[in-house]
Symmetry: D3
Subunit: 209 residues, 6 copies
């Protein structure tokens, strides 16, 4: 027994809220603030808070765009709360499309795990940056810029997107314009689209007015 | 009916707390944290939370400095909470002065909407940067530096100040020194001002000791 | 001569780069980094670096949208570089429209200086937040969300927008989609718009393919 | 030709450095600053700057730990510079191990693409959080905490790690202690390890003293 | 009585939550978020919240490492919450050692107040940076990197460490590896240490398995 | 020779700019940006960059305020550049005073190493927070708020101040007002001080006009 007193070393530190400063697992029922969700009490944090299995399941692509996005953001994966990172799974059936969208809160790195994906973003000066990505390729989409992904091959494609925020947000262009009660005339005025076009897409997406 | 299944696309995302990550309207009654006020529940957010009409009303300049500042910070305008921006209205009657002050939490851009304003700030190396601003001019005051605004014309002046924080703070030099119970001797010791000068300004501003 | 030695007090500090830490006026010719432009040498900084007069001049609204935006971002107004704030002027003739757009890098507070402006943004859950703003009203548009401004009155409208970044960016939806060489088929695939509609707007905006 | 003047709309904006504010592709030859590498000139930015194919190639696991890490950080993938995100590929042959290490600059989300990985981290209060991850599982490792990954199956494993920084850093415990010229006695004093153990690992890893 | 109306100047501001935006004294009983603890109500803030006397008392070095660390982080010193700074006291008896450790959340500046301290850190490229510090010397340890301090003299040493976070965290290497129930075999696999060495240190530090 | 191949493990990482991401030692001759100075080339970084001995030397208090401040900010101590922390030494002879000042860029924690110091700050709501600090006490001064330190005892006092920025800045109230060429009338207008008082202090401090 050579080091008998070492057990009591740093006791003050050990009894402080050390675990709290390492992470802040989201307590989804507590108040949320600008920096994210409130933290779960340290005593109730479990390893399961840091693990998420939802991305192992293929999303349902039996829909018109033949695509599905499965997020693991702080609201679904409480362990990333406050840590500035999250991830999502993207399934694209043959012919599948993730239409133009933005993430207001973070940049994205897309990793193609299977298949071929044509992806692109448009910069503020309206320059498009397009690339056909094969399995193993990655592409970065800077924060807030419009971008899209399209299955460019003859087989299903699978990709994973990493984000530099636990809550990167997602605004899908067509949904923002056509899947609500914005007046057709107002949309026409602010997009230069024809009223007939707008009404057609409202019909498809369930918008009114 | 060509796109029947699209309505269910991204259902997982739609049912998540998408709105929460876009903004964090202040719930002034809930706990506040270092990053700002807690967020209102998404379901209770209204467009009025993002609109503020208080800056349309001229401030009352019937006071000794012939000036008024009307803030639209997070505490008055909950919609800016967590968004890193706020604004204030500045009315300067003829002869009006906003005396030396600092904003500890943000830089400021002043826009002159009406009249002429002589403004200036002093850098850490004691260099003053002074300018007479006409209608339409803007001037930036770096975070935390002493600055002032004076009506430099023969008519009332109106300006608006944008800040890079939802709660930029405001410390008015004379109020900090003379509008409290700091002992005259202590102020003299830490400002080199004469006791008589200090007592005179304490009298004006309501300070004691 | 009572305080002869005070002149030398804090000499070490006075001779350090005090001015540098207060601000970082953009040297537009030097390398730029993720946090903004390089700083001008302190010795060459003048008060004019902190003042900008371009917003006093009405933008030219003799165009199809009857609107003009005049920015005072870091690239135009070097004094705001690194200070997390900037401003822009918005002129809307009768019938003028600033079509749907986003600012990838900052939230915006719009102040209506003259006239009536109908403004709105759409949240990630597709809820629109619309308001008719009168002179003196302000409205906040959270970072990265689609928003627009329309002159809602019978007279020209004037507004100023404050941003929580020196380089907030600006992506105009129609320009991003139609004012470049993105293939019509690709746009159709990623927006669900009809090819005829796309080609029509490409024609208007100068896009090809 | 119905909208002839629209071409000139926002010309001021179009001619500004719009592209610059969207992203900051690393110029690896220019000065680096605390926020990252200097930006390439906008005119020389190509789509290839935003795409990286190195992660499609399996790392060489013919080494003693039967593992390989292939990073796509800003130094390898200039497009992520300044965007707060990066990614790495992790190959683990049967019996492969990524020994205890930390990322000083970012949290990590690990996604298992193939095989079984036993992963874990230790919190500041010394609590270990361990989990056996199957294909499709993700796990988050909070910034700066010691963690490891071990192939827990009978087949090669493949994983991808997303980071909330373009330069998350990597400090491998054994390399930091044993792969340099730190004196054995000093290591013994600051780790409580026996000198024989230290010398043995120095021998393996190429350290001296 | 020359300035009678000045008392009412800035009343709107005075009645706002001015004090709240200046600081956010931790309410240790309220919910914590990613940015820190919730703030105490302004009305209950006292000067004692900003003052801490615990660092005036020598830590108990009657332990095996002959050293003691006394933190004044947000959990012990609520006044620093949200302010991005904290401090700790370090006592090193003759022969005392603070073994290899990291602070996941902040860089550290160590100031030697008394005695001689041999300190060092190891960079990500495994380069050690070592220095013998005399009274009055300071040394900086970059965020997240392994570092240590050893009393290098014949008398007790005293130092103070400043941190760039109110909750910098502290992970002590030996405690993370040996003072818990991590399986010996797993530690061996992820550190290359011999099982006998691991069991020996588990015995010393109270670990199991 | 049991682990022959391990030497080549992580070669890709070892040859990357690992050291660069750990720290960014200031190259004072290279361009500066909003986030700090450019980094020295990794190959030229030495341990001396991380060590500073200037704080071991007492400042010269043979001046009118009987005080001296010796900073170790990024400009004096290049190793802290980009790391969000710095430190300064404060010497106060008997009767010594550090007059009212602010740090625009960081909060401060003051540690009293010797003697007695009366310190205080004033909050935005004009509430003063004052305390007599004995040896070993610490006090925090929130960012941007006016504060002071006075030797409150019969012996010299010594203190060290930690800051949450590598370049916290320092604006000394009297110097900003009186140690430059600001017109006496303008100062009177913006501070309410009497012209005679202003001229007296200009005389002491070397100001003109």
């Amino acid at each position: 027994m050579i080091f008998p007193i070492l057990f009591t070393f740093f006791l003050l530190l050990s009894s402080s809220n050390a675990a709290v400063q390492d992470f802040c697992v989201a307590d989804l029922a507590a108040p949320e603030g600008p920096a994210g969700f409130s933290c779960k009490k340290p005593a109730s944090v479990k390893v399961n808070d840091f693990v998420f299995s939802g991305l192992g399941i293929a999303g349902n692509t039996s829909n018109i765009i033949k695509a599905a996005v499965t997020p693991a953001f702080a609201a679904q994966f409480p362990g990333v709360n406050g840590l500035g990172i999250s991830i999502a799974r993207l399934d694209l059936a043959v012919g599948g499309v993730v239409p133009f969208h933005t993430h207001p809160g973070a940049s994205e790195v897309l990793f193609v795990a299977q298949g071929t994906i044509c992806a692109g973003f448009v910069a503020s000066d309206n320059t498009p940056y397009l690339q056909t990505l094969e399995k193993g390729d990655i592409m970065v989409f800077p924060q807030g810029l419009l971008h899209f992904q399209v299955n460019g091959g003859e087989a299903p494609a699978l990709a994973f997107a990493g984000f530099g925020s636990a809550s990167p947000g997602l605004q899908i262009l067509d949904f923002a314009l056509f899947k609500n009660d914005l007046a057709t005339e107002l949309i026409a005025q602010t997009t230069f689209l024809d009223a007939a076009q707008i009404k057609k897409l409202k019909g498809v997406l369930g918008g009114t007015n």
